[in-house]
């Protein structure tokens, strides 16, 4: 098999990725490519494989077959230690829940990846406080995440994702647990600050209003990626028009 030629125009790319869990085939040859600075929304019905695709692109899951590339490196041939280092230095994550350490304060959580990255403590906390300020929750730095509202907790997650100046932010249903108003606020901040920082965003959602924040939308159906959005495309267009 020939080694694929990866165009540097794509920061993240999946080629014919196959991933199964036991007897269940989640991805059956999914391919997608994301350019630097692009915000890509991945939509699809429940169980279509969109989260699995995101986790494969982030190096959390190893595909059974196919290739995953990041910034010229073939991600699925890297070892666990190298992929861990990437998560610490180049990737940011915003999930629906379960991503924050509940025992730590908001500032601790934002500073954590910096501390893991051997940034000096004082500098890490200064950066964390600056990001919390930018996300409008500077007064919540000393609060534990359990004491925050859902929207505030998601903003902490966004601050944490951005604090490391990542190349890519992986967001899996980032507004899934929020009401529409809080969701909009989180999405405004996430996409606005990502664009400002020049970060690429991969956004998994089933919500057309959230997808409307993206530059491009792809659909995952039955483990395959398709550019054909069908009826969802109209909803996204309508949501974009409203925005």
């Amino acid at each position: 098999m020939n080694s694929p030629v990866v165009t540097r125009a794509h920061l993240v790319e999946a080629r014919d990725v196959v991933k199964s869990f036991g007897q269940t085939l989640a991805l059956r040859g999914a391919s997608v490519a994301v350019s630097p600075g692009e915000i890509l929304a991945v939509m699809g019905p429940s169980g279509s494989g969109k989260s699995t695709l995101l986790h494969c692109l982030a190096g959390i899951f190893e595909p059974d077959r196919g290739e995953v590339w990041f910034d010229g490196q073939r991600l699925n041939t890297l070892g666990e230690a190298e992929r861990t280092k990437l998560r610490r230095t180049a990737f940011g994550f915003v999930f629906q829940f379960g991503q924050l350490v509940p025992e730590l304060t908001a500032a601790d959580n934002v500073a954590l990846p910096l501390l893991l990255n051997r940034v000096r403590r004082r500098a890490a906390y200064k950066t964390a406080e600056a990001w919390l300020d930018r996300l409008g929750i500077g007064d919540k730095g000393a609060n534990r995440t359990g004491e925050l509202s859902g929207g505030e907790a998601q903003r902490v997650a966004v601050a944490r994702a951005l604090a490391l100046a990542p190349k890519v932010i992986f967001a899996d249903e980032p507004t899934g647990s929020l009401d529409s108003l809080a969701g909009e606020k989180v999405m405004d901040l996430l996409t606005g600050l990502a664009r400002e920082a020049g970060a690429t965003v991969l956004l998994v959602t089933h919500d057309a209003r959230v997808a409307a924040y993206a530059d491009r939308v792809v659909m995952v159906r039955d483990g395959l990626v398709s550019g054909d959005l069908g009826a969802v495309g109209e909803q996204v267009s309508a949501a974009k028009a409203v925005r």
């Binding site: 998560r87 379960g98 924050l100 025992e103 601790d108 990846p113 893991l116 359990g146 907790a153």
Partner: protein, 754 residues
């Protein structure tokens, strides 16, 4: 990473502090108990290696008296069931060797007493104790001569001439500094080793359980750390720091608890000896082992528990899904029982068949292995019977993971097994030492070897009656042989043991009046119409109550037709009605009929004592063993109870989310409480019944094989039921303490989880 680990452990809010507190408290209990066992062992070792001055052996006193060394006569006495070690001593030179605990030998007419005996002498009437010791209290004996604070020891000073006249006196030029040759020392050392292991095993389970407290919540945190780039190495460091900090706090707390309870422990006389508090201490190495070893063990336990899971950025997955336990798990148990039965089949009344020992061990291991299978079977059966929602919830979880459910009760099950075996066998062993009739003579004191002339005998008997006692004399004809000493005894009583004492020889049968025999019916009876009979009294003088209470006369005993007034008094049995009367009688006998014969070279003469005291001495070792094992079982129950409580508490924290959701959806908190209780009760109940049943069966089989034919089958005593009942009740009591935590933790107001 160390800093982050410390931060997560110490400054992560109330839940983390509660977790730290529970873990530290659990470890503290284990450490305090282990320190207690080590301290008892250290005190026992120190005691066993202490110089045994009473082991000193001397030589016959030369004539004329030499000008060096000292005259030495050591003996034992009794007061209220306690032994008094007595040394009568007379210096032959100014630099005569001095026994430990004093600076110089007591002067003639003076005595030194141990603090406990000095206190007794001040408070007890002189005719019950003080009159036995001629002279005045001139000082107290120091700790170097004593085993513990309650030891009763006295050194009495005499002039050489007076002491030389006392039978059994020896000439001593040096005092023994060697430790005593205790036959039972290796046995107790072994028992301590077993005790340490018995506590150590459940304590390791406790520490391991405690360090895995709320493992699911902790693993969520680890997954979040992995998501932001924490490496598996980082996770290991954080997990180790958490475990080490909580275990170290627990170890320090355990040391503090031990130091606080040490005075009470010193006074508890767990194995029959009350040690000095200063002796009751683990060595420096013991403390170090606790403060360093326990955190290390905790860190290892935490790392082992991490090996069983895969911490990924998306969460934690088990490396292997546990398969349901199969019937094969009964294999080791059956094998152990088979070996045990085979070993006992090779047992004779003199020795136990060798395979019985590994059989016992394999049976215990087999119980642990079979436990999950028993749990799953019990859960299925319970699930069929239980109709409520709590039954459904608890049995479903038990059936899904019986290994985890059983692990939390393993210690309790082993404690019940061990306790049942001891509770059956030890009282049975004690029962073989006594017969039901032994109680009939328990308050009867035996003074033998008197050899008093008819006149002196009558005087002695009237003196004893004046003390409020009933007397039952035995007479015989004596002829005077070569004497071994004469003159006044140390108590100033009649010469030796009266005229005819010392070298007197019995030439005819022993005789007892029928009126005296009627007073001690257990010893037999006369044929009607007789005044006195010849008795076979040899069995009276053995130290086993079984022989003591054998009849010495019967209807066929020969009548004695001679003149009783011409016979010498050789033995007197004295029935007393109170402890005070007993001590007055003993004091009277010590003064008026002091022990005549030494027990042999270096052995103390036997003082007068009741048959009850004899029995008490004989069973003291078995009682000490019983106490020791019961203490170990109690400790095991406590530690195992703590493990259960920690496991239950940890389980609650882990299941905060589903339990809260159940409450939100309308499940009453009472149902959830019952779920928690059932999850502990079902495996514990099933395994306890099986363990107790097997232990009882094994004990009975051992008893059948080992006990003399005709011995009644032993029954479990009240001590057993009390210990097991209290132990299991406390364990469940501790679980109920966690129920308020369940109510608070699952408050529907807490429905947000982050």
């Amino acid at each position: 990473m160390l800093r982050l680990g410390l931060r997560l452990t110490l400054r992560s809010g109330r839940e983390a502090l509660v977790r730290l507190g529970i873990t530290a408290a659990a470890v503290a209990v284990g450490v305090a108990l282990l320190l207690g066992v080590l301290a008892e062992f250290h005190a026992f070792q120190a005691n066993a290696s202490q110089a045994c001055w009473s082991c000193t052996t001397g030589a016959p006193v030369p004539s004329p008296l030499p000008s060096r060394g000292e005259l030495w006569n050591d003996s034992v006495d009794f007061y209220q069931g306690q032994t008094i070690t007595r040394l009568d001593v007379a210096s032959l030179e100014p630099s005569a060797p001095v026994p430990p605990g004093v600076m110089r030998l007591p002067a003639p007419g003076d005595y030194y007493a141990s603090p406990a005996l000095a206190a007794l002498l001040k408070t007890v009437p002189a005719d019950e104790l003080g009159d036995r010791f001629p002279g005045h209290l001139a000082g107290t004996i120091g700790d170097a001569a004593l085993n513990g604070a309650k030891d009763l020891v006295i050194y009495i000073g005499y002039t050489p001439a007076v002491l030389n006249a006392v039978p059994g006196t020896q000439w001593v030029t040096s005092i023994s500094t060697a430790p005593p040759q205790e036959v039972f020392t290796p046995f107790f050392r072994y028992a301590f080793g077993v005790g340490v292991l018995a506590v150590l095993f459940p304590m390791l389970v406790l520490i391991s359980t405690a360090t895995r407290l709320a493992a699911d919540r902790r693993e969520e945190r680890f997954a979040a750390l992995r998501l932001v780039g924490g490496t598996p190495g980082d996770i290991r460091v954080i997990a180790s720091v958490e475990s080490v900090v909580s275990a170290f706090c627990g170890a320090v707390l355990g040391v503090v608890i031990f130091l606080l309870v040490r005075p009470a422990l010193a006074g508890a006389a767990l194995i029959g000896t009350q040690y000095f508090e200063s002796q009751l201490t683990p060595t420096v190495w013991g403390y170090l082992a606790m403060l360093v070893g326990v955190p290390v063990v905790a860190a290892v336990a935490a790392l082992i528990s991490l090996r069983r899971v895969q911490v990924s950025p998306l969460g934690v997955s088990r490396r292997a899904t546990p398969k349901p336990p199969t019937l094969w798990r009964l294999g080791p148990l059956v094998l152990g029982l088979g070996l045990y039965v085979y070993g006992l089949s090779k047992t004779t009344h003199k020795s136990i068949g060798a395979p019985a020992y590994p059989g016992l061990l394999i049976t215990m291991v087999g119980l642990v292995i079979a436990g999950p299978w028993l749990t799953s079977v019990a859960a299925r059966q319970f699930g069929r019977l239980a109709t409520g929602s709590s039954g459904l919830l608890s049995t479903r979880r038990l059936a899904d993971n019986p290994k985890t459910a059983f692990r939390s009760v393993t210690g309790l099950v082993l404690a019940v097994f061990l306790g049942t075996m001891v509770g059956t066998l030890v009282p049975a062993v004690n029962a073989t030492e006594a017969t039901p009739t032994a109680g009939a003579l328990s308050n009867v004191l035996l003074e033998s070897g008197l050899g008093f002339s008819p006149h002196a005998g009558a005087k002695l008997l009237s003196g004893l009656k004046a003390k409020g006692a009933d007397v039952y004399p035995i007479y015989a004809s004596l002829v005077t042989g070569p004497t071994s000493g004469s003159g006044a005894g140390p108590g100033g009583g009649p010469g030796g043991k009266g005229p005819g004492g010392g070298g007197a020889l019995q030439v005819g049968p022993s005789v007892m009046t029928c009126s005296a025999l009627r007073g001690l019916a257990v010893l037999g009876r006369c044929a009607p119409g007789l005044q006195a009979v010849e008795v076979t009294d040899n069995s009276l003088y053995g130290d086993n109550p079984i022989y003591n209470t054998a009849p010495i006369a019967s209807a066929s005993s020969a009548a004695y037709t001679g003149d009783l007034a011409k016979l010498s008094l050789i033995t007197v049995l004295v029935r007393v009605d109170s402890p005070a009367t007993l001590e007055r009688v003993r004091t009277y006998l010590a003064v008026n009929a002091p022990p005549q014969e030494s027990g042999g070279q270096g052995s103390a003469p036997t003082p007068p004592r009741t048959f009850g005291e004899t029995l008490q001495i004989r069973i003291a070792r078995a009682a000490a063993f019983e106490k020791l094992v019961y203490a170990a079982v109690a400790l095991t129950l406590i530690v195992a109870g703590c493990s259960l409580a920690v496991a239950v508490g940890g389980g609650l924290v882990d299941r905060k989310r589903p339990f809260t959701l159940l409450r939100v959806s309308g499940t009453p908190v009472g149902v959830l409480s019952r779920v928690v209780l059932m999850e502990a009760a079902v495996p514990l109940g099933a395994a306890t019944v099986v363990a107790a049943g097997i232990a009882y069966g094994m004990s009975m089989w051992a008893f059948v094989r080992l006990a003399p034919a005709g011995t009644a089958m032993p029954q479990l005593g009240s001590d057993y039921y009390a210990l097991m009942g209290i132990g299991l009740a406390v364990a469940f009591g501790v679980i109920t303490v966690t129920l308020p935590l369940l109510r608070r933790m699952t408050n529907p107001g807490n429905v947000r989880f982050e």
